[in-house]
Symmetry: C2
Subunit: 326 residues, 2 copies
């Protein structure tokens, strides 16, 4: 399976690593909107091409993995390239998924290709767990917690505050809330009760730290609804202690069964990830394998993780899957 990567940021690099560690995938090329000569990839012998050259390489690529952002890149790129390639993206703007799905579906069907959108861990593995758990336990409550992990959007929001030189923000599930859910108490939790926000901020020289802290803690949408802790640290400390991109989270289904709904059940799925982009890239590559197979079977159009039988994700034969995993 020959993989093309469009966009060589953290996610693109994560996919490159996943391809290296996979036995049935090969990286054909990385495509970038930057000047290709300014981009160096890790895989020996793999070329970097301009995104403008993509269409001329369509015969060489089994699945193109789109590594752009959900705000402006993917809404354009995925429908555009689904006409010419089998594609996988990680589109995660939840409210716009129905529209994105329709646009990609139309393009993929027009081009006779297979597309899979909104892949990764949330949306992605967490979505799968919500669906499976709801199908099994129709009577119950869902809970999703995120973290401990770096939120890029919240870190960016802090960096835009006057007097801030650099920053990293961690989303942290509130332990008491996790425990209440795990104990089957089915609590009603406010935003503040579910997650904490912890910020590590490098201030510019002479900046008003109290003012920065206040601006962050009262920032609407991002921080105002949360308990937010702000730590001021040096640039060196930020680099030394906060340059990784960990993440993770929990999906719970707390349900009941029985003639009188008298028996409780708890389904819990959790991820602890040292590298969010490398794990996300690994999920995308597994689904690229599925997309490649679905395309060979003539199953065209837009899919999500819900539409893909798990067997398509594994490099093993069906007999081996039954022997090893069933």
């Amino acid at each position: 399976m020959k993989i093309g990567i469009l966009g060589y940021g953290n996610l693109g690099k994560g996919i490159e690593c996943a391809v290296k560690n996979s036995k049935d995938a090969e990286l054909y090329a990385v495509f970038t909107r930057r000047s290709p000569e300014t981009v160096t990839v890790m895989t020996e012998g793999v070329p970097v091409f301009s995104a403008d050259d993509l269409l001329s390489k369509k015969e060489c690529i089994d699945v193109l993995i789109l590594c752009g952002g959900s705000a402006t890149d993917l809404p354009e790129q995925t429908p555009e390239y689904a006409k010419h390639f089998n594609v996988v993206d990680s589109f995660d703007t939840h409210a716009n998924i129905p529209m994105h799905f329709e646009q990609v579906n139309r393009a993929a069907k027009e081009g006779g290709h297979t597309a899979l959108i909104s892949c990764g861990w949330d949306p992605g593995m967490f979505s799968l767990n919500r669906l499976y758990a709801n199908a099994i336990l129709p009577c119950g409550e869902d809970y999703t917690f995120w973290g401990r992990g770096v939120s890029q959007g919240h870190s960016d929001a802090i960096r835009r505050v006057k007097g801030v030189k650099d920053a990293k923000q961690y989303t942290i599930p509130v332990e008491a809330a996790l425990e209440a859910v795990r104990a089957g108490e089915n609590p009603n939790l406010t935003t503040r009760e579910k997650h904490l926000r912890e910020c590590f901020v490098v201030a510019e020289e002479g900046a008003d730290l109290a003012e920065i802290e206040h601006t962050i803690q009262t920032m609407p949408n991002y921080f105002a609804d949360y308990d937010t802790v702000v730590h001021f640290i040096s640039e060196e400390e930020l680099k030394a202690e906060h340059s990784e991109i960990p993440h993770g989270g929990y999906v719970f289904r707390s349900g009941v069964t029985g003639w009188n709904l008298e028996h409780k059940h708890m389904i819990e799925y959790s991820l602890k990830l040292d590298s969010n982009p490398e794990f996300t890239g690994s999920v995308l590559l597994a689904y690229a394998r599925a997309v490649n197979r679905l395309h060979k079977e003539g199953q065209n159009g837009c899919k999500t993780v819900f539409d893909v039988a798990p067997a398509y994700l594994s490099p093993l034969s069906e007999e081996e899957q039954r022997a090893h995993f069933l």
Copy 2:
């Protein structure tokens, strides 16, 4: 969707409860190998028929759920009924799954029906989690723990010991082993290091308790390889404290990603079930929904949970699934 249940033990009752709590399923009848007049079901108006009458009702049943045992019932029943019905079973004799799969596949294809075998939580949901996690993290280690829960097989083994009137055995994961796995230590664990066995035994009057304890603790295959604790209790206490059938367990994938495999990741799936048969019945009913749909699409033959796209399990439309779960 009209459901037939063959076999009205704990699992059959669990399915009956799941049907009651599901909006798109209806119980057509329960079939039994006992005298039908000796069996009373919970659902008002639902008849109990002899298993001998099953074939005459084939037009009335969309999916027949087979609730027999894996040792002798299902190896005969599933291939036999897959010729005439869409069927779901919970066959769990791991070594014999390939043979069972082939026999059921042949019968289902011959009859133009859809069959799904080895469904439940292990095999079933745990299998799915092993497959998904291995597809995402090809470099890593798998760990499965069972419990705390009642093992029917081990309880039966104790009941066969001379001087034992009744017994209940709990399989319990060793906390230190769970913690070592969760911490990403990838330990090599012996059988004894993974699980404890705790037995609650009602002895016959005048029985030699020390002898019973010794016989249990040294019983090959069942207890000899484990640390086994034996508690002697009264019949009343057994009834009051140990008449439920809880179970559960954990599936871990501890893997690495990165150019030099430098980032660790932990995927953990766990179940805490107040009622093993009701949860298992709920999984079987969700897969009965899938089997019914696959059959309508003409996808005949034998399937496992690996072959079923998650979307087939949910009573919601694909649009609703994307809106609620993605």
